[in-house]
Symmetry: C2
Subunit: 193 residues, 2 copies
DNA sequence: GAATTCATGTAACTTGTTACATGATTTA
DNA sequence: TAAATCATGTAACAAGTTACATGAATTC
């Protein structure tokens, strides 16, 4: 449900192609709601069928033609209705497959676990850097109204806090695993069955 | 992919029904990977077709019969293979629909936004309390080996940190929205269409 | 010469959600 | 007497992933 309205919302700023939307997504909304290119193209088709957007082809030379989507009046109304009606239960779920593996950590070789946690930290640091860069660019740019920049900044803040929490957790976890396995005699429950 | 292996993993502790699995899920893995009852029953069927679990009916009086699932040798091997082979990119994505709405916060009445953020805080506090309770019960119980309790504790830690980060963020955001809207003249970009 | 960027999608598949159906027992 | 708990699922649908296909221009 969310993706369609997120696309509609981005298109209220200006008409764009599916490719543009994907690019913007990856730099912003992606940090708390991801979407693949094929999903975006498919949902744009749905939005067009529903009369929420229209499209026109812009021919280009040396590059593939562009298909530019524009929000209709109906689409703008639908977006405003969606964004202003919060569901009774605010939807927000973590989907950390990595944590499912940690849950079953007793079946994993502690050395490998620590290695994966270190990798996790690097990935989260990368994410953090990415958000910070986007944030700085946004702060310097003058092509967006202050109010948009303000709210985009709030979501970036949440992204940073989530990454920092994950990094802190992983660092503590590594230390705790080291301590725990040090005082653990031998058998870890790790069987080769 | 993950859900099937999470179920398989839980079943390696002891044979259980779909209902049992759903109950355990809601108290533990649910905090970072959610699943509905119908999905669990469906995936149990798949696991059985794949030969990873077997089932038998236990008749009961006054209550519906139980269908108890047991992991096979093949299933245990499949689980061990899954849990020990981390994907090249560690999968962990937030899916916070709420943040998508905040991203478009300029289209929302600031008073309503603040109200929803306060609600968000209450929901996160509820989650936090829930995790803490589960954690305490786990600490006191003596029916699980120390090593399992240790790793379950690590995942609970991450859940707590995530909730705390969200609460902190929402509190700061409320203050920032109040400041921002105070110094903002009138028009918010909030249109009635 | 290989990879990346630009630009579009389709098809097949897997995963996740929602609504529905059944029905006795127990607790509030 | 209304609800929650125990216990199972099916059916229909919506959302998300993966692999594939095309092809010129540009950058490494």
């Amino acid at each position: 449900m969310s993706l369609k309205f997120a696309l509609l919302g981005l298109l209220t700023y200006q008409p764009m192609t599916g490719y543009d939307l994907k690019t913007i997504f990856d730099e912003s909304i992606n940090h708390f709601w991801s979407a693949s290119a094929s999903q975006i193209y498919r949902d744009l088709g749905t939005l067009e069928n529903e009369g929420f957007v229209t499209s026109h082809i812009e021919p280009q030379e040396g590059r593939p033609d562009k298909k530019v989507y524009t929000v209709t009046g109906l689409g703008e109304k639908a977006f405003m209705a969606w964004v202003n009606h919060f569901p009774p239960q605010l939807q927000c779920a973590m989907r950390y497959e990595f944590l499912v593996r940690i849950f079953f950590g007793s079946r994993i070789d502690p050395q490998d676990l620590i290695f994966q946690l270190q990798k996790f930290i690097r990935e989260q640091q990368e994410d953090l850097r990415h958000i910070k860069t986007a944030e700085e660019e946004l702060g310097q740019s003058e092509e967006y109204p202050e109010i948009e920049k303000f709210y985009w900044g709030l979501t970036a803040s949440m992204g940073k806090k989530a990454s920092l929490a994950a990094i802190e957790w992983a660092e503590e976890s590594i230390r705790e695993i080291q301590e725990f396995t040090a005082k653990q005699p031998e058998s870890t429950g790790l069987g080769k069955n």
